[in-house]
């Protein structure tokens, strides 16, 4: 996603790392120097100060969601904002803990803190994926695009079908089934686990076979993953003539290529899904955090 020499962590010579470190050091020094006259808590002047800083930071960090979508802006690059978002978001953990003076309880205030930590730690996962997966994705695609791979799969399907038809009706049947079984993409879980959907298709087929067995009494051959290949090799060993053997070999090559493409597409979908899935936690939790923050601030002054 971003070139190695200028990642979100090293943007502008890690400018925001230093800013965040400075902010953290200042906070720690103030916390140590400050005598709250009791136990440290959010109600001292330092508590209010750190709380205000933390609340403003949270609001500003959430503005990143808006900044990300506005393409015509003069307020710095998205990469710069992201770098600041990550570093200042990390510093927020410390500032919020110092704000509360490490006091926790079963209340709205600690809920706010927990939500904030959940948002930040889900963000850490996001940083990890942003640093790791773009490279993996590029390597997996082998400089093709997903659409190109899908188009190739579709072409192979057409060719394989006509080739299989020239061999034998059984072969045509298995190829047809193989096409039917190739499912790229799927539900959230399927995408994340890099399944090409054949498992789902196979289990459906199995269920259907069991159903049919009980109805007809005739047991069809057992279905297993990769069975397309075995079926063809069986055929090759048994009753094929030379011409058929030749065509079958070609067909097997073709289907191997397809299999390879399909698993790469599935992986591509997986990488993309992993890079996106954390946002489905990060974003809703941060909006929930905003509500908790509003509740926290208002309730504190409601019963001052």
């Amino acid at each position: 996603m971003f070139a190695v020499h200028e990642s979100l962590l090293t943007y502008a010579k890690s400018r925001y790392l230093w800013i965040s470190l400075a902010l953290s050091v200042v906070s720690i020094v103030l916390y140590v120097w400050h005598d709250p006259g009791g136990v440290p808590n959010g109600g001292t002047w330092l508590g209010y100060t750190l709380g205000t800083v933390a609340a403003l930071l949270i609001v500003w960090l959430m503005l990143f969601g808006i900044r990300k979508r506005s393409y015509s802006t003069t307020m710095g690059s998205t990469l710069g904002w992201l770098s600041a978002h990550v570093y200042l978001g990390t510093a927020l953990i410390l500032i919020a803990l110092l704000h509360c003076g490490f006091q926790f309880g079963w209340n709205l205030h600690t809920l706010t803190l927990v939500l904030m930590l959940a948002v930040i730690f889900s963000g850490f996962f996001g940083v990890y994926t942003y640093l790791r997966y773009p490279t993996l994705m590029t390597r997996n695609r082998e400089s093709a695009t997903r659409d190109a791979m899908l188009e190739e799969i579709s072409d192979i399907d057409q060719n394989a079908l006509s080739l299989a038809d020239g061999i034998a009706p059984e072969i045509h049947g298995v190829v047809l089934r193989s096409i039917e079984n190739t499912r790229l993409g799927g539900g959230v879980w399927t995408q994340l686990r890099a399944r090409d959907g054949s498992d789902i298709a196979i289990s459906k087929v199995k269920a259907a076979i069991v159903h049919r067995e009980t109805q007809i009494g005739a047991a069809p051959p057992a279905m297993q993953a990769g069975q397309t290949m075995f079926a063809m090799v069986d055929f090759l060993a048994g009753k094929a003539d030379d011409k058929q053997s030749e065509a079958l070999r070609k067909l097997i090559d073709m289907l191997s290529r397809k299999r390879n493409l399909a698993s790469r597409v599935a992986r591509d979908i997986q990488y993309q899904a992993i890079m996106e899935i954390w946002l489905y936690i990060h974003v809703p939790l941060s909006v929930t955090l905003l509500a908790a923050l509003i509740g926290h601030i208002i309730s504190v002054f409601f019963y001052w």
Binding site: H109, G173, G185, G187, A201, L285
Partner: protein, 563 residues
């Protein structure tokens, strides 16, 4: 059995025509082979791909004959029983099982799916390839989370402040009430109403008012009179400035010395000279020398202790004569029970609270050695202690009795007094009684003089002879201060790790009772220093001082009746 096979032919975009065909037999075969009832010249169909069997009126069984299965009503299946209206799709052909018309046993409509429709179907059947195409969403969980937390975290608890009784309902429900806002455990003394926030937080968005505290804590003394000391700021000081709840077992009493030092560091300036209290900000580094309460008496002999700045040269006047050195002689003292070494604790015993010392009591502490006898012929008889009048009449009664009874073996006494009365002796004559009582009066006066000035009273007390006006011996009043530091609390019980001499080191060498044996600030500072002490006991103001000490003003703003 007769099947109606109706082929739908599309002539143009808007017009269709039908071509009916009849098929005989139970089963309608579908495939790419030439012998199929419905022949499909399409590579996506197998030679014998599927069959449809009419199993009843408007009831069909669709079966796939190959492993690839067949799509019925959009789902790949191997065998399914359907009614009319079911759609079977195979490649570019769509078979619709139609409602029976005429005298056919079964009917199917065969139509072609055109290219654009095929493409639409394919894209519709495509599985999602990115998360944004799946059911998960960022938007609705965001709204859900936002409104759940805002509603149950803020709005519902806030509503309890407005709707009476709601808080009680919420407390017995799983829904959060205002206790969900509670930032920390309530102090143990307040815990019995901890669920009712409004007991203290009467007004929303206003800090807890003092009247919330004084509604229970009535008559709590104020610190000082804001009017007298020209410090309106004292009136602004809230109870909550020092007493913050929600600190659980840490309690509500703030020990922060800044709470005092904020004003007391320059109190004279603040009060525009109305206060005479010296400036103080830290016990270790900025605290004046102590003032001690020295015993004193006003003209009418009422005890009025005087507060004096401590100094090593200060003398006290308790009215008592006492020599510590003599009593604490390491060689011991002669007592009726033999030699005895006295210790501090023989005379100085803590009171029941352990804080101060009991007053010295003659009867239990001195009397063992200092007998108040007055007559060697009656060594067991003593005059009472402390009651001057009783001393005189005790002596008068004693000697009158001895004189009249006779048998008093003193050669200086008249015969009538010395004579022992025998049983059957005649009663004393009037002259004899007068003589005996005259002797008794003289003897009693003599004994009183000896007791007061010779050996008993004068040992410890200042004694003045009776004046001409009244015939009563004068004993100077005796009293130790009792409370030496009137503005501070000192507790002996808390200092049991120290010995007496650690603080009262001068005692064993003191020969005069007016030596002040109460230590000054330097003695305390050997162990104690201010809040930031590193190598001493960190002691803030309230370790020794109280805040609610105004003699006249209470926090509920009523002037107290008597100081």
């Amino acid at each position: 059995m007769r099947w109606l096979i109706r082929r739908v032919l599309k002539k143009s975009a808007s017009s269709l025509s039908y071509e009916d065909d009849i098929h005989f037999g139970e089963v309608l075969t579908i495939g790419r082979a030439a012998d199929q009832a419905i022949f499909l010249p399409d590579l996506r169909a197998a030679l014998n791909h599927a069959s449809i069997t009419a199993v009843g009126k408007n009831k069909y069984k669709v079966e796939s004959l190959i492993v690839a299965g067949i799509r019925v009503n959009g789902e790949i299946t191997y065998s399914i029983t359907v009614g009319h209206g079911a759609v079977v799709e195979l490649g570019s052909t769509r078979l619709t099982l139609v409602d029976l018309q005429g005298d056919f046993d079964a009917a199917v409509e065969v139509s072609t799916i055109d290219k654009s429709e095929q493409a639409a179907i394919v894209s519709k059947r495509k599985k999602p390839t990115s998360l944004s195409q799946t059911w998960i969403s960022k938007r609705w969980p965001s709204w859900l989370g936002f409104f759940l937390v805002l509603g149950f975290g803020l709005l519902v608890p806030a509503a309890t402040h407005i709707v009476p009784g709601l808080n009680k309902i919420l407390r017995y429900s799983p829904l959060p009430s205002t206790t969900f806002w509670n930032p920390g455990e309530i102090d143990s003394a307040h815990r019995f109403f901890a669920n009712d926030c409004t007991r203290c937080h009467k007004n929303a968005f206003l800090m807890v008012r003092d009247n919330a505290c004084t509604s229970c804590h009535t008559s709590t003394k104020a610190h000082a009179d804001p009017v007298k000391f020209n410090i309106p700021a004292l009136g602004d000081a809230r109870c909550g400035s020092c007493h913050q709840d929600h600190n659980g077992d840490r309690g509500m009493i703030s020990k922060d010395q800044r709470l005092c030092a904020d004003c007391h560091a320059d109190l004279k300036t603040r009060t525009k000279g109305a206060s005479v209290v010296a400036d103080v900000s830290d016990f270790g580094s900025s605290h004046p020398q102590f003032h001690v309460n020295l015993p004193g008496w006003s003209a009418d002999n009422t005890f009025t202790p005087k507060s004096m700045l401590w100094s090593s040269a200060l003398k006290e006047n308790s009215g008592l004569k006492f020599n510590h050195l003599k009593h604490l002689d390491p060689k011991g003292l002669n007592t009726p029970d033999g030699r005895k070494n006295l210790e501090c604790s023989n005379c100085h015993q803590p009171d029941a609270g352990g804080s101060a010392m009991k007053p010295i009591a003659f009867e239990t502490m001195c009397h063992e050695c200092h007998k108040l006898g007055f007559d060697t012929l009656a060594p067991d008889r003593e005059v009472p202690h402390a009651d001057v009048a009783a001393v005189s009449y005790t002596l008068n009664e004693f000697y009158a009795n001895r004189g009249l009874e006779g048998g008093y073996a003193d050669a200086r006494a008249p015969t009538v007094v010395q004579e022992r009365r025998r049983p059957g002796s005649p009663p004393l004559s009037r002259e004899e009684r007068v003589e005996a009582l005259a002797w008794a009066r003289d003897r009693s006066e003599q004994a009183a003089k000896t007791v007061f000035t010779g050996k008993a009273c004068v040992t410890c007390h200042s004694v003045n002879a009776p004046s001409a006006a009244n015939n009563v011996w004068q004993i100077a009043p005796v009293r130790v201060s009792g409370i030496w530091y009137s503005k501070a609390k000192f507790n002996h019980a808390k200092h049991q790790t120290s010995t007496c001499l650690d603080c009262h080191g001068g005692a064993p060498k003191s020969e005069a009772s007016n030596d002040l044996l109460i230590p000054g600030i330097e003695n305390c500072r050997e162990c104690h220093a201010g809040a930031h002490a590193k190598d001493k006991v960190a002691s803030t103001c309230i370790a020794c001082h109280g805040y609610h000490t105004s003699p006249l003003v209470t926090l509920d703003k009523k002037t107290r009746k008597s100081p």
